[in-house]
Amino acid sequence: MSRVARNATLAALFGFGAALGAAPATAQIAVRGETVHTMAGPAITDGVVLIGRDGKIERVGPASQVRIPDGYRTLTAKVVTPGLVDAHSVVGLAGYMNQPHDQDQLERSNAIQPELRAIDAYNAREALVEWIRGFGVTTVHTGHGPGALMSGQTMIVKTRGETVGEAIVDSVTMVAMTLGPDVARNYNGRPGTRSKGVALIRSEFIKAQAYRDKVKAAGKDASKLPPRDLKLETLARVLDGELPALITAQKATEILAALRLQQEFGFKLVLDGAAESYLVIDEIKRAGVPVIIHPTMARHSGTLENATMETARKLREAGIPVALQSGFEGYVPKTRVVLFEAAMSAAYGMPFEQALALVTIDAARILGIDHRVGSLERGKDGDVALFDGDPFEYTTHVCGVIIEGQVVSETCR
């Protein structure tokens, strides 16, 4: 099916008009909002964001100070925010059909496969990528999912493009790991205990330390290099602090185990899920580790049985860097939408801009891409979301999405 036909079909399927992907790119764009949440200072009343030909933000400020130059296409909205950043997802790998042929987030042949690259599995045309984009998400940290001791690598993309190359922001971002009983379900009951899972991960890192030592000792002498090993090469990059370990750990026990691993091997750690993180706030804070919290509305069952809707707020109040994720879903809905998840954090007591930061600037900082996305500032990517009211209200619509100066969605949803 041609791209155009496909778009028309999708538009018909979801019943939100024919504008999906149909809007032409415009070289120079001005966005004028009654309120502009730049996430780099106080919100601007009657603000303007100018995006240049290069897709970068040229200027941001009140309309009284920022004149819209002639020739710029102007879009208006009640509320303007940076394009949303989903701090952890599996879209593009875990397809919406949920059939074996479109599930690439988890390889079940071996519970330890850090060498698996996300770029080799990302489907830029996957319907769920377009779906979350329609709700303002412009940047996604996606890749291999939870459910293996080491499931593979993650990557960062923009929610556009027809190929991985057109979407890519960062091809290797982190290595995804999981602690706790959820792993055994995918690997015939093994590892059978939490402790065994930790032991297997430690053994692998110890191998990687030895490998890294051999590589270092060889120096420039190729004859002394150990045979190439994709698995250990990847873990060596984790040991070198080049790639953070993204460890999914829901129960307090699992979170403490993740912190122990980090202390033993000295890698950079990002905690993921962390349903019971509110029980071990002091330990997380002391370790200086950021947390990408489970979707607020994730099913509070299994290892998430003690999850709360207040976790983001509690961690943030303790000074721990936090972001929200859409996460992984094995069934319906096949993905969550971080806009709705952040709204729930706001509903449960987080101040508006802090809740918005969970899915913009704070997410960008944890992912190490805050020089490009997460706030509306001069020189950053022209990624913008336009709303016809309070972004978190159920009855508000996302009425425009811009990625690097290209209007990718203009239908109100």
Binding site: H300, V332, T335
Partner: protein, 436 residues
């Protein structure tokens, strides 16, 4: 008038389970009251006694009896308790894998009323729920209509008084992919329909024999639990709740209903927007699930948030449900907000959460709106029901407060945390695939 009132009260008392309604008159004043079947009242007064609503009206227009316990609800919003037409709370199950058809199986035999799902549903403002067995069968069993009173046993929550003599719920049916499998399960859609038709034709024959016996025990057919249930369906005493997603499966569900003439509600209806007019022409109501994304299974790939708007426009009676397990009862009110986002009218969305559900369960003479004589089931909200920032602060069932956000234990049920865990919740996730 007074006599009529007393008679009503006596009846209510006679029918009330041990935990129901307080005798003292209770008055809730100052709130914006949304009765659903009439226009919202700013600064309204709600008078409750004996578990029933005595009066609803404007301040000054409703007599406040001497000695009444007065609750100041200034700044709050009061609306009827929510009706969830399709849920799996209580950890119960229905038929097993021995057959695709289990008309004889009752979920009420398996519901644990101490499951935290019940408390969470109260926290979500749900006061009546249709607890269903899963969708892994063509008929997975008899559903149970529950009033979410605080209770010790299933009997404290059931609508019916005598499980042997009364109809205590509906009949869960399902088509599409969930009920398919290796024999004896159907391998195709057509086979699924044929199996259901055969069973109902048997039930017609059984019913004819019962009629022909005309009360003579010697002429009665041998008792058959499944046939007895299906006869209740054929006679309109038991409502079919039909799980169906794809547009052609919805049409099949309608075709079966038309052939056998039973009362039915279409559930989930992911592709309803494709055939809204056909659903309207069938006269069947539809109960919708709200999901944040399409997909997750093949038959929900075309799910649209516009289903509510499309069905409202076509003139269909629209309700919503949690399918709890699939979506959380505590977020049920979200359905109305998302429905309005996608084009449904505000009034229809609030009606869908309450009165429509009551009608779908055949309980609209007792619940679904705030009217004198109806059960005093209502919720106290901190603000507009469609706002994300609004919380359910209190849930009242038959004049008894069953949830109070200011109570620390109730707060945990509402928000989550240590202490919320129920007996079955930890295992529920794994068994979920058979449901939605």
């Amino acid at each position: 008038m007074k006599r009529a009132f007393c008679a009503t009260l006596l009846l209510a008392l006679a029918a009330a389970p041990p935990l129901a309604g307080q005798e003292r008159v209770q008055v809730f004043r100052g709130a914006k009251i949304i009765p659903i079947t009439s226009a919202p009242i700013d600064g309204g007064v709600l008078v409750v006694q004996g578990g029933k609503i005595v009066a609803v009206g404007r301040e000054g227009a409703v007599r406040i009896p001497n000695g009444a316990e007065v609750h100041d609800m200034t700044g709050k919003v009061i609306m009827p308790g929510l009706v969830d037409t399709h849920s799996h709370i209580g950890g119960g199950d229905g038929g097993d894998r021995s057959s695709p058809i289990h008309g004889d199986v009752r979920i009420l035999d398996a519901i644990d009323v101490r499951d935290d799902g019940i408390q969470k549903a109260q926290a979500g403002g749900i006061t009546t729920v249709n607890v269903m067995p899963g969708s892994g069968h063509l008929m997975s069993g008899q559903t149970a209509y529950l009033k979410l009173r605080d209770g010790r046993t299933i009997y404290d929550l059931l609508y019916c008084r005598d499980v042997l003599k009364e109809v205590c719920g509906g009949l869960k049916m399902a088509n599409g992919t969930n009920s398919r499998g290796e024999p004896p399960f159907p391998g195709t859609r057509a086979k699924a329909a044929a199996l259901v038709r055969e069973r109902f034709i048997k039930a017609q024959e059984y019913r004819a024999k019962v009629k022909a016996a005309n009360g003579d025990p010697s002429k009665m057919p041998a008792r058959d639990l499944e046939m007895e249930t299906l006869v209740e369906v054929l006679e309109g005493k038991r409502i079919v709740h039909h799980h169906t997603h794809r547009y052609d499966d919805i049409l099949t569900a309608i075709r079966l209903q038309q052939e056998f003439g039973y009362r039915a509600v279409l559930h989930h209806v992911s592709e309803a927007w494709k055939i809204a007019d056909e659903i309207a022409a069938s006269g069947l109501p539809a109960s919708i699930i709200t999901l944040d994304a399409p997909g997750g299974k093949l038959e929900t790939m075309d799910l649209s948030m516009t289903n509510g708007a499309a069905l409202e426009k076509a003139g269909v009676l629209v309700g919503y449900h949690t399918d709890d397990g699939i979506t959380d009862s505590r977020f049920f009110l979200r359905s109305a907000g998302i429905a309005v986002r996608a084009g449904m009218s505000r009034d229809a969305a609030l009606y869908a959460m309450t009165m429509a559900g009551a009608r779908m369960l055949g309980l609209d003479d007792r619940i679904g709106s705030l009217e004198p004589g109806k059960d005093a089931d209502f919720i106290v909200l901190s603000g507009d029901p469609l706002s994300v920032y609004t919380h359910v602060e209190q849930t009242w069932v038959e004049g008894v407060k069953v949830f109070d956000l200011s109570n620390p234990q109730d707060y945990i049920y509402a928000v989550g945390g240590i202490g919320v865990r129920g007996v079955v919740s930890a295992n529920y996730h794994e068994g979920m695939e058979g449901h939605e």
